[in-house]
Symmetry: C2
Subunit: 213 residues, 2 copies
């Protein structure tokens, strides 16, 4: 079975996205700040077509987050700002013609839509029967590689509370968002079998890693 990985950037007050997500603010207001550490790394600069970038602990964690991904699962808000029925097939996701997934992506939604392929190997599939079936499809597609739960907060929280995540990494920046979407809520049973591995940090962000014991 592929390992199921969840890797999210989080504010010190626990938010993985800012409030009022919209077309202008896909990560919610202030949410982009959560990803500044990543956008400074060589891996993410390459991913977005620019050069240079830092090496060191943050680059190591960024590269690890991008390695060995066989399939990705995401919630509908992470795919786009549209709610309710799809009016047409014009919206192709937030990421342009060549999305940075380069493999199968399973989008959780209540509204069926045909799969479609993008440049660079990304194919979006739409799953209407919940997190379990989406995971089965993703695992079947991933083969020897891992399945990544891409987000957002709601989707990630559902997989976490269901005990379906095998490796968790939270990248915590010294940022206070004050409101938005929290990941670590309703976890009365804690992380349910996930044990801390270590804590690593650069001067700007701390990486907390857990694995299923």
């Amino acid at each position: 079975m592929p390992a199921v990985r969840l890797q999210l950037s989080m504010s010190l007050d626990g938010y993985v996205a800012g409030p009022r997500q919209s077309l202008e603010n896909p990560l919610g207001e202030g949410g982009m700040a959560l990803h500044e550490w990543a956008l400074a790394t060589r891996t993410f600069r390459e991913m977005f077509g620019s050069e240079g970038g830092e090496t060191g602990i943050d680059e190591d964690r960024a590269a690890a987050s991008r390695a060995n991904i066989g399939a990705t699962i995401m919630g509908r808000n992470m795919f786009g700002p549209i709610r309710g029925e799809w009016e047409n097939d014009d919206w192709k996701g937030w990421w342009g013609d060549n999305p940075p997934y380069h493999g199968p992506v399973y989008v959780l939604t209540h509204h069926a839509r045909d799969s479609f392929a993008m440049e660079g190997g990304t194919t979006f599939h739409f799953v209407t029967d919940g997190i379990g079936p989406a995971l089965e499809l993703a695992c079947a597609a991933a083969g020897d590689q891992d399945v990544v739960i891409g987000g957002g907060a709601s989707t990630a929280g559902q997989y976490l509370r269901a005990g379906l995540v095998d490796e968790l990494e939270l990248h915590v920046s010294p940022i206070i968002l004050g409101s938005g979407e929290r990941l670590l809520e309703d976890l009365d049973d804690g992380l349910d079998g996930l044990e801390p591995v270590d804590v690593l940090s650069s001067q700007r962000v701390a990486h907390f890693r857990f694995v299923r014991s």
Copy 2:
């Protein structure tokens, strides 16, 4: 003016104390785990009368947290489990005959009580007119040294939201408490002038530091 410092240990889901604080669980259920990193250090082992202890980043931060303290402010729950009127003067705090403060401590309460001195230089004073007057008294007593807001969550949050904290350090462990007392709530204005200095970590805890700019 003395610097006002706030240093608290926090779980990854944002709790600085566990739920259901009681005489048996002064830090709330599960709350002691937040302090495991500190209890492993040389500074805190000495403080509680045992030998040995680790050196390194955690010891450096533990020693810094104990240095240059002229006065301490705490909420009543941090002083004891008693609520409402003081029935008598028998309760002298959680810390035994020789409390680890060794200086003036101002306890916020709605119920007046006479000051009293303990072994080792700790004197407990009781302040009934709120966080501002308590801070004035503490600053006057601290002289050239700093004032530390000892906690708990409610008292610390009041000082933080009032913009009265000059230096903030949060020690975040990879622990999920699931419920308890959160510090970083109702911070719509963020940290109001506190800027991140750096993030430091050992393998077991990350230290996030902020100072007033």
